[in-house]
């Protein structure tokens, strides 16, 4: 938010940093959702899970959760809708018949191929505008906040 615009809220920047973050997050999500709608007909959650499945070693839930940043419930709902859309399929594990291994279908791969260049262009553009040095600082602060977010009050 540009603090000089009279139309904007007079935030106490230190105190309401979480509010600014939340606002930014909403804007970025809207942008990503539009991009996905335009090029791939998947939601942002589905997209992150689709990518996570495609890069995870074994296609297993814990792996996908780690790669997507979503909890088990979110992953399981996302997998369900991706399966329904025919973008992901699950097969029994060779070594453990009870375990399911997830794979991206050819249709899912087609979506990744169609969307990924646009996603990469968007991220590259945003990161370039910020600059590498600022980005390093930014990331350090994010890490501090991430640690502080674990504290219970």
């Amino acid at each position: 938010m540009n603090m000089e615009t009279p139309e904007t809220l007079n935030f106490d920047q230190r105190t309401f940093i979480t509010f600014r973050l939340a606002k930014l997050q909403n804007a970025l999500n809207t942008q990503a959702s539009k991009l996905l709608k335009r090029h791939g007909n998947v939601t942002l959650t589905e997209w992150r899970i689709l990518i996570a499945i495609s890069v995870s070693d074994m296609g297993q839930m814990a792996d996908i959760s780690r790669h997507s940043g979503f909890d088990k419930g979110q992953v399981s709902r996302g997998v369900k809708s991706l399966t329904k859309k025919g973008l992901v399929t699950s097969v029994a594990d060779d070594e453990d018949a009870r375990a399911q291994v997830l794979h991206v279908t050819p249709d899912g791969k087609a979506i990744i191929d169609a969307v990924l260049p646009h996603m990469l262009a968007r991220t590259a553009r945003i990161e370039r505008d910020v600059g590498a040095e600022s980005m390093k600082h930014f990331d350090r602060v994010l890490t501090l906040m991430e640690d502080a977010a674990k504290v219970e009050f």
């Binding site: 938010m1 930014l24 070693d57 990924l116 968007r122 600082h137 930014f138 350090r140 994010l142 502080a148």
Partner: protein
């Protein structure tokens, strides 16, 4: 390796700044949700809406979506629930009878006085280890990212 996707398997969305932000945001929201849960019966969005009405004097839902970047549906559900819980009252605006004018009730104020200290000490803790210079850069980057989020040609 599950390598039938055709692109470089080195690709890792976790290195994206947008992904990093979303993860941190997730953790922060979960924490705020826990604080609220142990001190009152509001969701995080309800809490934010309550503050917007009171501290920033936003009497109309359209202000919240436009200035605070909240989702229309979320705002409308939160206002409904805050009204049902008796923390927010809604009447007609003086200058436009069709527009809704929101205000915080006495019980809404009492709730804020009770919960705010806990939320503020959490905020203080979040920025405790960040020095002024770093915070300045952080805010600048947030501005840049917000500008980047407005681009719509990808």
């Amino acid at each position: 390796m599950n390598d039938h996707t055709g692109f470089d398997t080195e690709f890792d969305q976790r290195s994206f700044i947008t992904f990093r932000l979303a993860s941190v945001q997730n953790a922060l929201n979960a924490q705020a949700g826990r604080v609220l849960k142990s001190h009152c019966n509001l969701t995080l969005t309800e809490w934010r809406v309550l503050l917007l009405i009171d501290v920033w004097d936003m009497a109309q839902m359209s202000d919240m979506t436009r200035l605070a970047g909240l989702d229309k549906g979320q705002v409308s559900r939160s206002v409904k629930s805050l009204t049902a819980k008796g923390y927010v009252a809604s009447g007609a605006a003086e200058d436009d009878a069709r527009a809704q004018h929101l205000s915080v009730t006495e019980s809404g104020h009492a709730l804020q006085r009770r919960v705010l200290p806990h939320m503020l000490s959490r905020q203080e803790r979040l920025v405790r280890d960040i020095d002024a210079d770093e915070m300045r850069i952080f805010n600048k980057v947030l501005d840049r990212l917000a500008d980047g989020a407005k681009l719509d040609d990808f």
